[in-house]
């Protein structure tokens, strides 16, 4: 089975081919490139599963395939594949979602008579290809490069409807904000390369391993170039720099502002961006180089707090939104906050677990929302909906499954993963890193809000009476919409059983499959989860603490708290929005609502930074440039010409003046040289 690794590059290459095909020949193809994309992503999915199986059977792969730059250079820049449990699992998730999104697009785009489809499918193909390549990158540089390509594709797709004013602006914002983060990332990449001479993720020669040897007081390793800093300080700086890219892509506070705007793109694209590609790329990167972050307690704390804060912060905004996709957007930000929280608190497995479940249920919710939007003739306002559940059965059921998962209601997938995230935060907070408890508290508070806004969304959309004409007679959807919804709906319900930690703890059954899987793989790669927990323990001082009587009590208390809060939120929403004609309760919030609707004025200050400050500054620079610098240049020219004009007035035209000037200058000359030569 190891032979499958030889074909692994095709996982990314296939969608790339579909990109080329759709770009060049999409116009002439029956479904304008959709088929090429579907076939390619299906191929990728198949290969990814094969790789997953192979990895599951204990084979891994970490090879350099292409030398980007070699020769007489201090360090080579290469491309290669790292196929270990983490990337193999992620490949399956990405290709699965991509495949379903392609299928769904048939219904959402083709059936709706959109133009520019070849461009759409080409971008989608490239998007998938870039993300897949990013996932199996074996070094930070390659990861960065595909990370950027992911950014490009999201730009293209968010701005797909370029004829309107909104999408291009949203696309620009998405790219710019993430670019701002990527700036730090790139500095980090350059720093890592110049510090360690390598950017490999895995193995003894990977930079996390090198960093560990440097930091390890017991080894006397060759010192790396830390540019005059203490190694620990310098590594923390590098870690934070790379984290900049993560926060940008994963829409963490304060870089989250691009994501709600990105809803301007077609809904399937939103599904792809939020569930499996762009936003996921950020947190995946942290997981990918967790061996490095695990060495840096400060950075871990930053990650945890950013995550916890973002989770809570985004959830508050989700509460008041009126458009279905807006609610989902803020929920995405919030959920990625949880993943960051997990990573920051040492919950490597929990993070990936939540990444997986979130990928499924968020893709489901977006596709479901897409289905609703088709039905509503592209009206996204929930206050114009209502009562849709009777018209669209499949969509409703699937959407409900996703919503319950999002809200973290037992036994849907979100419950298991979110619970594990919070559990990790709690035990490590208790175990000697009390700071983490603050992050935990924020995460916990967000659970309540999540429950509330999710159920509010479901009720407003599907329940009650139809509040508009379109809602009374919605547009039907076809199999190509229903099929992905069905697949994902089932997955959203059951995928939590990949790693039901409470069951394991309570019953002692070895049902934590994901944990076992991520813990497998050869030691030499240094990417197993127990290696990471060893590192967090040794270098970040993370250890497990409990309340009351031990692990089980802690677990149950934590799970109970989160489930209880989720139910409380859900129940509150149910109580408020249950009726046939729900009222706009959020208006009662008054000033708070205004604040929330304006997203805490985050956009305003960022727009001010971009337009008010930077543009004004550049205007001033331009004035300075034209006035002073170019003014000097033109001034020199004017002065020269003016003095030339004065100088030629010497030539008066009167010959006696000439004679006088000649005699005078001769006399001056004589006088000067007489003085110099000492004639007298």
């Amino acid at each position: 089975m190891a032979g499958v690794f030889a074909y692994a590059p095709a996982i990314a290459a296939l969608p790339f081919v579909s990109f080329v095909v759709a770009l060049l020949a999409g116009k002439y193809m029956p479904k304008k490139g959709a088929l090429a994309g579907i076939i390619a992503t299906a191929g990728s999915l198949g290969l990814s599963i094969a790789v997953l199986v192979t990895v599951f059977l204990g084979e891994t792969y970490n090879e350099t395939l292409y030398t980007f730059v070699g020769g007489d250079v201090p360090f080579e820049l290469t491309f290669g594949l790292l196929l270990d449990p983490l990337s193999a699992a992620m490949l399956v998730i990405v290709s699965l979602i991509a495949f379903l999104v392609h299928v769904f697009s048939l219904g959402y785009m083709n059936d709706e008579g959109e133009t520019g489809l070849p461009r759409y499918y080409a971008s989608l193909g490239l998007f998938t290809a870039s993300m897949l390549a990013f996932v199996f990158s074996d070094n930070l540089l390659m990861a960065f490069m595909f990370f950027e390509l992911v950014g490009l594709c999201s730009y293209l797709l968010i701005g797909f409807w370029f004829r309107r004013a909104g999408p291009p602006s949203a696309a620009k914002k998405a790219f710019l904000v993430t670019r701002f983060g990527d700036y730090f990332f790139l500095v980090g990449v350059v720093g890592v390369l110049t510090t360690f001479g390598t950017a490999q993720f895995a193995g003894e020669n990977g930079f996390p391993a090198l960093a560990e040897t440097v930091l390890n007081p017991e080894t006397t390793a060759d010192a790396v170039n830390t540019f005059g800093f203490e190694p620990a300080t310098w590594f923390a700086i590098l870690g934070l720099l790379v984290l900049g890219g993560v926060m940008g892509k994963s829409a963490q506070f304060p870089f989250h502002t691009w994501l709600p705007d990105a809803m301007e793109g077609p809904t399937p694209v939103s599904a792809l961006i939020h569930a499996a590609t762009m936003v996921a790329a950020g947190v995946f990167l942290v997981a990918r180089m967790y061996g490095f972050y695990a060495l840096l307690p400060t950075v871990l704390a930053v990650i945890a707090f950013v995550g916890g804060f973002t989770a809570l912060f985004a959830a508050t905004m989700g509460v008041v939104k009126n458009e279905i996709k807006q609610v989902l957007a803020y929920s995405t930000i919030s959920q990625y906050g949880y993943i960051m929280l997990a990573l920051g608190t040492g919950g490597y497995v929990a993070a990936f677990f939540h990444l997986t479940t979130h990928a499924v249920f968020k893709a489901l919710l977006f596709l479901g929302a897409g289905s609703v939007i088709i039905a509503m003739h592209h009206n996204e306002n929930m206050w114009d909906m209502g009562g849709l559940k009777d018209h669209m059965r499949v969509t409703y059921l699937a959407f409900l499954s996703g919503s319950l998962a999002l809200a973290g209601i037992f036994p849907f997938s979100g419950f298991w993963s979110k619970d594990e995230v919070l559990y990790e935060a709690l035990v490590h907070g208790l175990g000697g890193s009390p700071l983490l408890l603050g992050a935990y508290a924020m995460g916990l508070a967000a659970v309540f809000l999540t429950g509330f806004y999710t159920i509010r969304m479901v009720l407003l959309t599907f329940h009650g009476e139809a509040r508009s004409d379109t809602a009374e007679d919605p547009h039907g959807v076809r199999w190509n919409v229903k099929f992905p919804l069905a697949v994902l709906g089932i997955l959203a319900a059951v995928i939590g059983f990949l790693n039901p930690l409470p069951i394991k703890k309570l019953t002692g059954l070895e049902v934590d499959f994901l944990h076992q899987f991520l813990d497998s793989g050869p030691e030499a790669l240094l990417t197993s989860s127990h290696h990471y927990s060893g590192l967090t323990h040794d270098y970040a001082g993370y250890s497990v603490g409990t309340i009351g009587g031990g692990e089980i009590v802690t677990l149950l208390a934590g799970a109970g708290a989160s489930l209880g809060l989720a139910l409380l939120g859900a129940g509150l929403a149910f109580a408020l929005y249950r009726g046939a004609e729900p009222t706009r309760h959020t208006e009662k919030l008054g000033g708070l609502q205004t604040l929330l609707m304006h997203n805490y004025y985050q956009d305003e200050y960022q727009v001010w930074l971009a337009e008010g400050l930077t543009l004004r500054l550049s205007g001033a620079a331009d004035t300075f440039d034209q006035g002073v610098i170019d003014g000097v240049v033109n001034g020199v020219s004017s002065v020269s010409l003016f003095s030339g004009d004065r100088l030629r007035r010497l030539q008066t035209g009167i010959v006696t003046n000439y004679a006088a000037l000649i005699v005078l200058s001769l006399l001056v000359l004589l006088g000067v040289f007489a003085a110099l030569g000492g004639w007298f």
Partner: protein, 494 residues
């Protein structure tokens, strides 16, 4: 020394004299000659012969060590041959071009005659080895020039120009004569080597007299080379004179002034001996800076093309003055002196060509200002390409030999440790690019104010212009023909 073959060395000057005499003869037999072409042909041929002989003598190395004639009154060496070559080429071009320019004017024979006599005077200047010969030759070159400027005697500009030229010239030659007399007073000799021999003593004993003499002689030469402050005649004379005469004066006459200055100052006033009396290198440095700057700055704002060329000619005099101003005794002195000669050589072609283009424009009556030249490129592309070559070469762009020779001067000044002279040249050169390119802009870029029709394309004038352009371009790589000769000549002189 008095060997027959040595007389051959005077053949270039002889060629001028003989053709002048021939013109006399022709004119006496046929006073109102209808044979315009014959007169022009004789002039051109005579000058061409002079040019070819000088080149042959120069490149064959016959006179490398310098041959003295007439008891040392004349000397023929590399430098004199370089300059007779310049005079020959300029005279040939001017003679050729004049065939068309003066075709409707009377007194053609006199016109050519005066040109040839002036050329004769110049070639004597190149060989003058005594202050007496210097003065006589200089007057021989100057007097016909005054008359030539006044050639358009019903044209107020021409007459006024001649008057000013003459008056300033007369004043300057008086100053020169007085300077020579003072030098004679201090050294007791007029032969340059003898003056040099006595210079050390003279500058100790008769410091003041000798010093004043040197500076006055310098003034006389400054007049001939159109250097500040004796330049006042130049803009007017060049503007008012018939354009071929302006070409002749600004190229050949200026070169003649320089060859005399080179020889007299280098040979007769060795800087080591006379420095106690007057540091003429310093004087030339001052003059060079003033001349370059004044010439170029005044040229920058002219509206009249011919007057712009006149001022630019002053600017170029300033460049060449660096050849004397950089004789600081540091580094390779032959380099900078030779560069001066090379620049004058190239200048002979490019500047003559430029004035001849102005002659062509006058011939067409298109007007005198830049504005009048607008759009000429469409109607007379060949001549305008040639003019573009002249302008850019004068400005020091690599379309012609002017590029290399100008940069050689900078090289020389840097090598002599007076890099700041090079820097001043640089600033001026950049400014010159501005005003030279105005001509180019007018010809190629600007649209004419009103439609104009050019009816005739004068052959001889065209041939002269194109020949000048071809040689200018060819001198870019082809300066190798003359470079070692010039540098050797300079080295021999030093």
């Amino acid at each position: 020394m008095e060997h027959v073959s040595n007389w051959l060395l005077l053949a270039p000057a002889g060629a001028f004299v003989v053709s002048a005499m021939l013109l006399f003869v022709i004119d006496s037999f046929d006073p109102e000659s209808k044979h315009d072409t014959l007169l022009a042909a004789v002039t051109t041929a005579g000058a061409a012969v002079a040019m070819v002989i000088s080149a042959a003598l120069l490149l064959s190395g016959t006179a490398d060590s310098g041959v003295e004639l007439f008891g040392g009154q004349l000397v023929v060496d590399g430098m004199s041959l370089v300059f007779t070559f310049i005079f020959g080429s300029v005279t040939a071009l001017v003679g050729l071009a004049s065939a068309d320019y003066i075709e409707d004017l009377p007194h053609k024979a006199e016109y050519y005659l005066l040109i040839l006599l002036a050329a004769t005077g110049m070639s004597l200047m190149a060989s003058a080895n005594s202050l007496a010969v210097v003065f006589v030759a200089l007057e021989l070159a100057s007097l016909p020039s005054y008359a030539l400027v006044a050639y358009l005697k019903t044209n107020r500009g021409s007459v006024e120009a001649a008057l000013k030229y003459f008056l300033v010239g007369a004043l300057s030659s008086s100053i020169l004569a007085y300077g020579i007399s003072l030098i004679y007073a201090a050294t007791g000799s007029l032969l340059l080597p003898d003056v040099a021999a006595a210079a050390g003593e003279a500058s100790e004993l008769y410091t003041g007299v000798f010093g004043i003499g040197i500076l006055m002689v310098l003034g006389g030469f400054a007049f001939k080379t159109a250097s500040v402050p004796f330049h006042f005649w130049a803009p007017e004379a060049y503007e008012g004179a018939p354009a071929p005469v302006s070409a002749f004066l600004s190229s050949a006459s200026k070169a003649a002034g320089f060859v005399v200055a080179f020889r007299v100052f280098v040979v007769a006033f060795p800087i080591d001996s006379v420095a106690g009396s007057v540091d003429w290198v310093l004087a030339f440095q001052v003059l060079a800076v003033l001349t370059m700057t004044l010439g170029n700055f005044a040229a920058a704002t002219q509206e009249n093309v011919k007057r712009m060329l006149a001022y630019s000619s002053i600017g170029h005099a300033g460049y060449v003055l660096i050849a004397l101003a950089a004789l600081t005794g540091l580094g390779d002195q032959g380099l900078v002196l030779g560069s001066g000669m090379l620049h004058l050589l190239v200048y002979g072609f490019m500047n003559t060509g430029a004035f001849l283009f102005v002659a062509l424009a006058e011939y067409w009556n298109v007007g005198r200002t830049f504005r009048d030249y607008n759009g000429l490129g469409k109607e007379a592309p060949v001549a305008c390409v040639a003019m573009t070559v002249f302008m850019f070469s004068l400005a020091g762009l690599p379309v012609g030999g002017g590029f290399l020779s100008k940069y050689f001067l900078i090289v020389g000044s840097v090598g002599a440790g007076v890099w700041w002279l090079g820097a001043v040249l640089a600033v001026n050169s950049a400014l010159s690019l501005f005003y030279y390119s105005r001509v180019v802009k007018a010809m190629w870029i600007d649209e004419p104010d009103e439609p104009r029709e050019i009816e005739r394309y004068p052959t001889a004038l065209y041939v002269a212009i194109v020949a000048a352009a071809v040689v200018t371009v060819a001198l870019l790589p082809g300066i190798l023909v003359f470079d070692s000769a010039a540098f050797d000549a300079a080295a021999a002189l030093l």
